[in-house]
Each structure stands twice: as structure tokens, then as C-alpha cells.
Amino acid sequence: MWDILVSYCSDALLITGSFLSLTFAIGLLRFPDFYTRMHAAGVSDTLCAGLIVLGLVLQAGISLVTLKLLFILLFLWFTSPTASFALARAAHRAGYRVSEQEEVASSNS
């Protein structure tokens, strides 16, 4: 009973993770400017990584593999927001600004 529940949970996490990673990849491809693309990529790096790795953890059971998976997850959760932050800052300093249309849209709403 418990096993079945765990395996369903794992499947659900994996499916959600893969669905979201696809959507965010489409976002990375289709969004209009650099900062919106970065948004898609940044969210996918943390959220999808979390979902998929947790799904795998549930499959692995308790072992060294689980520990390594959790390390990977922790590592990704530390590094990818940091990298995104540094990248956004570098882009900002290089003179990128959020495009005009975006600013108008946000001031209207």
C-alpha cells in the first residue's frame, strides 16, 4: 500500500517536472526580451530540478543514492539563482533595459 502511494507520488512529481520543463523551455525560446527569457530559465532551473530530483529520491529509497540526489538538489538550488542574479546584474550593467512596451504595460496595470 505504502509502496504504491510512494510510486504514484514519484510519478506525479516526475510528470509535473517534465511538463514544466517543457513549458519553460518554450518560454525561453518565445519570450520577447532577455529579462523575460531569464525569468523562464531561472524558474525552470529551480522548480523543475526540485520536482524531478524529488521524484527520483522517492524512487531510490534510503541509500547513498538519495544522499547524492539531495546534494545535487541543494547544489542546484544554491548555484542557479546565484548564477541568474549575477547574469542579470552583468546584463544590466552592460546597458540592457527592460523594453519600453513592458514598462508601459506595467504602469497601466
Binding site: 544554491f78 548555484t79 546565484t82 542574479f85 549575477a86 546584474r89
Partner: protein, 321 residues
Amino acid sequence: MINIILLGFLAVVAIAVAMMRDLFAIVMLFGIYSLLTAGIFVSLDAVDVAFTEAAVGAGISTILILSTLALTSREEKQPTHSFLLPLLVVLVTGATLVYGTLDMPAFSDPEAPVHQHVAPHYLNQAEQETGVPNIVTAVLASYRSYDTMGEVTVIFTAGIAVLLLLSAFRHHEDEASNLNDLSHHPVLRYIARLMIPFILLFALYVQFHGDYGPGGGFQAGVIFAAGFILYGLVVGIDKTRQMFSESKLHWLMASGLLLYIGVGIVSLLLGGEFLNYNVFAADPLKGQHWGIFLVELGVGITVTATMISVFLAFSEVRRSE
């Protein structure tokens, strides 16, 4: 199936590299190329190779090529001569090679000649003879350790040559180094400081767990160096140089190789062949264990020191003419 898809990606990236003019974008794509190659190595069961490629190809190569670009120029000139002749040469060579493959055994055929020679011996006997379940480590550090000693010597020599070539252009103490680091970034500094101990710990794990899983001296050396490269990027090149003075690095580079050769000489003195570890202890398995451990340690030390000193040498080149 997965193999075909990854190979397709690889081909696309290679073509893009050939077409592009912006060298910086090319280096970024080359990073992807390396990651993809490592993925293909995993799918072809070569986990140790994938490990090395991931650490070396994607990390160190990219950093070195970027440093070179920063010192030279980013844009490539349009070639003036015609591209037809090179294309012809390439097509003819490629066609010849394809003709050559027609005689090769089918992909993943277990009856292929490569699998008939020494490989079955390694696969069946290595664990009894060396006590190491990872056959790649057993072959690398024990059966063919003579070769590996040559490779370590090559790395050592290349490192020395890089240092000799670049030492003439070292910036003076009072000048700022050519590459600004990211030390004014508090977030990065904090995160990196948090992670570096774990990276070094992981490198030690890779070094000493290489008998049982993927890993070994080469990979551990590169990961260890990567930890200090991260330190250099985020905290400052000067601070890293304070930790590793030139003489200390030279000493480390040589000592790893000397440890390797020393193991061989000791085994000669104890009455065995050069690098035959069986003579180290009454029990051959124990002797093998010690021999492999020391040799891998030597490899790890030399690779670490070479990578760190090459990185520092590239980072300290004076920018102005």
C-alpha cells in the same frame, strides 16, 4: 535512441561553431559541445571518461579559452581566401574515411575484435588480481600504469611550458591584474565561500572512492583545482596567489610525478618489475591496494598543481602591451 538524439545535437552544434564569427559565442557553444560529449560517453557506458570530460572539457578548457580571448580579440576576421578548396579536401577525406568504416564491425557487436584481445582478461581477472571493482581504475593505475606515468609527465611538461611562455608577461605587483574578478559581488562571495569546502570534500571523495565508483586522480585533481579556481574568480586572483606561491606550486607539480616514479623505483628495489605493486606487501592484494593508492595520489597532486598554476598564469598576464 537517446544516443542518436544526442549525436544529432552534437552535429548541429559543430556546424554552428563552424559558421559563426563571434568567438565568444563559439566558446559558449563549445561548452555545450563538451557537455553533450560527456552525455554521450555516459550513454556509451564510459562513466569515468564522462566524468573527466565534464570536469576538464566543459570547465577548464572554457576558462582557458576565455582568458585568451580577453587578452586578444573577440571578433574573427572574414577569411579572404576561397572556402571551396578546403571543402573539397574535407569531402574527399571524409569519403575515404566512410569507405574505411565499411570494413568495421557493427556498432556494439560483442564479437568485434576489440573485445577478444585483453579485455576479457581484465574483466574476469582484474578484481581478483588487484582488488579493485572499477576495472578502468585497475587498468589505469595497475596494468597499464607505465602509460599513465607517461601521461602525467606530458601534463607536467605542458604545464611547465605554459609557465615559461607566459612568465615574461606577468604584471607587476603594483599594477592591477588584467582580469577583474568578482570580489565586489557580496552575494557571489558568500555563496562561493559556502560551497568551496564541499567542493574540496567532494574532490577528496572522488580521489579515494575511485576504486569503487567512477573517479580517480585525474578527475579529483581537476575538481580540486576547480574549487580553487572558483576561489580565484570570486575572492580574487591575488588572494589565491598568496595561498599558492609560485615555488610552492612548482614543488607540488614535481612532487606528484616524483611520487609516481618513486613508487616504481621502490618496487624495483623490492625485487619486482617497475610499477609491479605485488611486492609491496606479503599479500599481493594489499600491495596492489597501496600501489594504486599512491599512484593515484601522485596523479591527483600533479594535475591539481598544474591546473591551478596554468589558471593563475593566464590570469596574471599583463593586458597592456
